[in-house]
Amino acid sequence: MRPLLTALALTLAVPAAAAPGLVEDDWPRALALAKAQDRLLFVDAWAPW
């Protein structure tokens, strides 16, 4: 699992100072990324109003 997480982190990592990218509708990917980067997740749960 670790190589996958590392690969994800390398692919998707953003510098702490830069605006973070947005993961859309992909909880497993966001979770893996958060674990790999030791970051918390901020989730916007919305509905089309």
Binding site: P15, L22, A34, R39, F42, D44, W46, A47, W49
Partner: protein
């Protein structure tokens, strides 16, 4: 908020310490997330600890950029101490639905923090929102009334007052505590309405709640006058909006204001413009169908509902089906109404469990039975 506040918030320094995830709660692919984190209010913001896969903070409703940045700062305190620890414990309890624990800890933090505590406004707002979300209407209104007067005038004051007043308006008319809550919170809500810098969404919500307050107090004249002011605000906001998404963002309140004014037709041009600019969005034709139905223009309403059904997805599509069935029934075509309800119930069965809307499905089923038995209104 998705068109304005969140893109701005992601530019702030604190944002880079989080992984940002956007979840469309109507997307069937998000069922696994929703199983784990049930969502009942829109928007809802969660901070999730990935190691435990548990929410440590849950914020229900709109928030300004500054409020989101403050929430991020609160959530990012890895080893909070003192009052920060009490607030973090309250946030976690609230996120996990342990409302008694959350209430106790928010109250403890407020008592220990005193009037000068810098995070008192946020803590009051969180407590009022938690009580409202749990349906504890008296506690919600009472807390807002007791705490809001002494808060600095800003977004937290406005949100606490508006939420408290919604709780009072929503209470049973014979609730003994309700008149005092309405009388105490209404002037504070009017004061909030005059504050500069509120989110348009929050200001519109204040107008709507004040209109509802005058209605439940039997003052139709003032309700109408307030609804006119609300409408003018919405039109001004639309005129200033820089994008189609921002122009459409307050279409929902636009419909509510037009209905409050008993003038459904006045919102139709804005909805037509939204539909033309956002052709994939089911909301503009759905809202048009609702207004055309109110106007008795059933052919036009049927066409608009058809366009909405072609674009809608998830549990919210059931509400479109319900309106489509209402249109057919009022238009006198009971067989068509039955067909729509059958299609709706078949669609509901295919939805993933977290996206099923049990109350809505029960209502659709009751309508279908009433149609079958000839007992529908």
């Amino acid at each position: 908020m998705r068109a304005s506040v969140l893109p701005d918030a992601r530019q702030r320094k604190q944002a880079g310490r989080f992984v940002w995830l956007s979840i469309d709660t109507e997307n069937p692919g998000n069922a696994a997330f929703l199983e784990r984190f049930p969502i009942a209010t829109y928007p809802t913001f969660l901070v999730v600890d990935p190691r435990e896969e548990r929410a440590t903070l849950k914020w229900q409703g709109s928030a300004s950029v500054e409020q989101i940045v403050n929430l991020l700062a609160d959530a990012d305190r890895r080893r909070p101490r003192g009052l920060d620890a009490v607030l973090a414990r309250a946030d976690r309890a609230q996120a996990e639905g342990r409302i008694d624990d959350a209430t106790r800890d928010y109250v403890t933090a407020l008592n220990e923090g005193g009037r000068g505590w810098s995070r008192r406004p946020r803590a009051v707002e969180s407590l009022v929102l938690a009580l409202s979300g749990a349906g504890r209407l008296e506690g919600c209104a009472d807390t807002a009334l007791r705490e809001a007067r002494a808060l600095p005038r800003g977004p937290s004051f406005a949100n606490a007052v508006a939420t408290g007043l919604v709780c009072a308006v929503s209470a049973p008319p014979d609730a003994a505590w309700r008149p005092a809550a309405l009388a105490g919170l209404e002037p504070l809500a009017r004061e909030a309405l005059a504050l500069p810098g509120l989110l348009a969404d929050d200001r519109s919500g204040l107008y709507e709640t004040l209109v509802d307050t005058r209605v439940v107090c039997g003052d139709r004249r003032e309700a109408h006058a307030l609804a006119e002011r609300w409408w003018r605000f919405l039109e001004e906001d639309r005129r200033r909006a820089a994008s189609a998404e921002l122009r459409a963002a307050l279409d929902g309140p636009r419909v509510a204001a037009a209905l409050a004014l008993e003038d459904p037709a006045r919102a139709l041009p804005a909805l037509a413009a939204s539909e033309a600019a956002l052709p994939a969005d089911f909301n503009p034709p759905y809202r048009s169908a609702r207004l055309l139905f109110e106007l008795g223009r059933f052919e036009d309403a049927r066409a608009a509902a058809g366009r909405a059904l072609a674009r809608a997805y998830g549990g919210r599509k059931l509400a479109v089906y319900r309106l489509a069935a209402d249109i057919e029934r009022k238009a006198g075509d009971r067989a068509a109404a039955a067909r729509v309800l059958d299609e709706a119930l078949s669609y509901a069965e295919k939805l993933p469990p977290p996206q099923q809307r049990p109350d809505l499905v029960a209502s659709l089923r009751a309508q279908r039975v009433a149609l079958h038995e000839g007992t529908d209104p």
